[in-house]
């Protein structure tokens, strides 16, 4: 038996190592990568799922940019980024900074757990819970009436102006805990001497936040942005359960539109073009964000 274990077998191609990877790769290729290519193929056809498919060229792709309903769905996905990504990260930074100032103990733990719980429950249940809160006789309107703002009360999810922000708030609710907990742990890793140095330089707590805390959280912020942006762009469960894209198509998002086109309208080609476009959109946004991670 050769003694130099590290180099043993490394010069030859290690085909047997493939055996360890093949099962995972096979199921992934057959049920993720292959369907993805099929989606791409479908996007160039007109097909109702039953009859023969006819070549459609780029028609399905062109209507992504001309059909007002689909344009609306794509625009809504970007509006949701505001609610799924920006607001949870800003609130998460505030919450994490405050939790850190509290002495370790039950209060901080309870806050953390309370914020994280929405992340682990089924999104379907979140959608149902919030549909009830937002209903005409729900808690949100009761709260407004109690504050003497009863004139503002409305069926929030049926309101053309407020349905999308209302759905967005559900996203804030779901994402806030994840961002808070991640940012909190990031803050714990920042070298305390950096804070001392900043204080010696006469920095106030706000200046300190921008000079020390925020740069120190680069990794965590990138993870938060990536995770929440994917959730925003590909959202389906919450909206399908709470509004199904309505009223009109005020809260229609690409995920719900794909589902409706494919399984209610039997317009497989259009559904697939939108699905592939959604995938490209996610990649186009997420890949540049990852570059921020490496710069130090």
């Amino acid at each position: 038996m050769p003694r130099s274990g590290v180099s043993r077998g490394r010069s030859r191609t290690d085909w047997r190592a493939l055996l360890w990877v093949v099962p995972a790769l096979a199921v992934y290729a057959a049920f993720v990568l292959f369907p993805l290519l099929q989606s791409l193929q479908y996007s160039f056809y007109d097909w109702d799922g039953i009859g023969t498919a006819t070549w459609a060229g780029f028609d399905n792709w062109a209507s992504l940019f001309t059909n007002p309903e689909l344009l609306h769905a794509i625009a809504n996905a970007f509006v949701l980024i505001l609610f799924y990504t920006l607001i949870p990260i800003v609130l998460g930074l505030i919450a994490a900074a405050l939790v850190r100032q509290v002495r370790p103990g039950p209060f901080g733990t309870v806050t953390r757990v309370a914020l994280f719980v929405p992340q682990v429950i089924p999104l379907v249940a979140a959608g149902i819970a919030w549909s009830w809160l937002y209903s005409q006789s729900g808690l949100v309107n009761q709260f407004l009436s109690a504050m003497g703002l009863g004139s503002l009360a409305r069926a929030w999810l049926g309101d053309f102006t407020f349905a999308l922000p209302a759905v967005g708030v559900i996203g804030v609710w779901v994402m806030l805990g994840f961002c808070t907990v991640l940012l909190l742990s990031g803050m714990g890793k920042i070298d305390p001497s950096l804070y001392e140095a900043a204080r010696l330089d006469g920095a106030g707590s706000v200046a300190e936040f921008f000079a020390v805390t925020l740069p120190g959280l680069r990794q965590e912020l990138v993870v938060c942005v990536t995770f929440t942006m994917i959730a925003a762009l590909t959202s389906f469960d919450i909206i399908q359960v709470s509004t199904q894209g309505g009223p009109g198509y005020q809260t229609l998002v690409p995920g719900v539109a794909v589902y409706r086109l494919a399984f209610l309208d039997q317009n497989i080609g259009q559904a697939s073009a939108l699905a592939i476009f959604l995938t490209l959109m996610v990649l186009a946004i997420i890949i540049p964000v990852q570059q921020l991670r490496r710069v130090r």
């Binding site: 274990g5 590290v6 490394r10 191609t13 290690d14 085909w15 360890w20 990877v21 099962p23 995972a24 790769l25 199921v27 992934y28 049920f31 993720v32 990568l33 292959f34 369907p35 993805l36 099929q38 989606s39 479908y42 799922g49 609130l91 405050l98 509290v102 309870v110 806050t111 914020l115 994280f116 719980v117 929405p118 682990v120 429950i121 089924p122 999104l123 379907v124 249940a125 149902i128 819970a129 919030w130 009830w132 809160l133 808690l139 609710w173 907990v181 991640l182 965590e220 993870v223 994917i230 762009l233 590909t234 389906f236 794909v258 494919a262 497989i268 699905a275 592939i276 995938t279 990649l283």
Partner: protein, 273 residues
């Protein structure tokens, strides 16, 4: 830390407000679920005469026993297999020179961002032609595939940090690759793979789109998938709907609260890698 009384109070107020934002919707579900059916529940007050019967009614109305059984079957089909495949692949990609390993790893990484919506239509027709549509396998197999990228990424990240010296020591003791993996690295990786198992459980249990599309009979779906159908049927009985939602939330919530500490720690460790 020295801070004024005012600062301490405003800090507490903000934190309490954020925590309330987190739990009030769930508390509201509970208080609503306990009001008499057909009444219009007011506010967040604990009902004077809590109707625990509503939970039993929702349980029978939605045939939750069937859904629970179905969910468990789907979870048992998905989690162990997905865990085994992801662990093997992650280990090999971290520790061996797999031919084309770099390309394979990138292919998995891309999968981290792929929305299920981009696959669902072809999956429907593929599973139809395989004759699996409507069966639980129609959800189990694609769910395993969808869980692969994260699992491979997660386990590879973990095994990349394993001590090379351990592998060396095992080899000198005459252990082959499989023995080194099974007897040394796998036990040491228990925190990593058990956290992955919890994540896989939650992802499968909470999965909505796949069962909605691929299993037309709601009672063969997961709990979350079945709840959608329940909402359609009992949408105007708000008490039953809230009780049903809580029944579905409970298992996820219990798993999370029980494993809260190790779960969050592992999640954070993995996320930043």
């Amino acid at each position: 830390m020295i801070s004024s009384r005012g600062e301490r109070i405003s800090r507490a107020v903000i934190l309490v407000a954020l925590a309330l934002f987190g739990v009030v919707p769930l508390v509201s579900l509970l208080t609503t679920a306990l009001t008499p059916q057909g009444s219009l529940p007011q506010g967040l007050v604990w009902p004077s005469n809590p109707q625990w019967q509503n939970f039993a009614d929702a349980w029978t109305a939605a045939n939750f026993l069937r859904l629970l059984e179905s969910s468990c079957l789907i979870v048992l089909g998905v989690v162990p297999i997905a865990l085994a495949l992801a662990t093997l692949a992650g280990y090999a990609l971290a520790q061996f020179r797999v031919p084309g390993g770099r390309v394979i790893y990138v292919a998995f990484l891309i999968g981290l961002t792929l929305p299920a919506e981009s696959l669902i239509t072809p999956l429907y027709y593929d599973l139809q032609s395989m004759g699996l549509l409507g069966s639980r396998l129609a959800v189990v197999i694609p769910e395993i595939a969808l869980l692969m990228p994260f699992g491979v990424f997660w386990m590879r990240a973990h095994f990349s940090n394993s001590e090379l010296a351990l592998t060396e020591a095992a080899r000198i003791d005459g252990a082959n690759r499989w023995q080194t993996f099974a007897r040394i690295h796998l036990p040491l990786a228990t925190p990593a793979w058990s956290a992955l198992a919890i994540l896989y459980f939650l992802a499968t249990w909470n999965q909505y789109l796949l069962p909605l599309v691929l299993i037309s009979d709601p009672s063969n779906r997961t709990m979350a998938g079945g709840l959608g159908a329940f909402q359609g049927q009992y949408g105007d009985n708000i008490q039953l709907l809230c009780a049903g939602s809580l029944i579905i939330i409970a298992p996820s919530l219990i798993v999370f609260l029980v494993f809260q500490r190790s779960f969050v720690r592992a999640l954070l460790a993995g996320a930043v890698k």
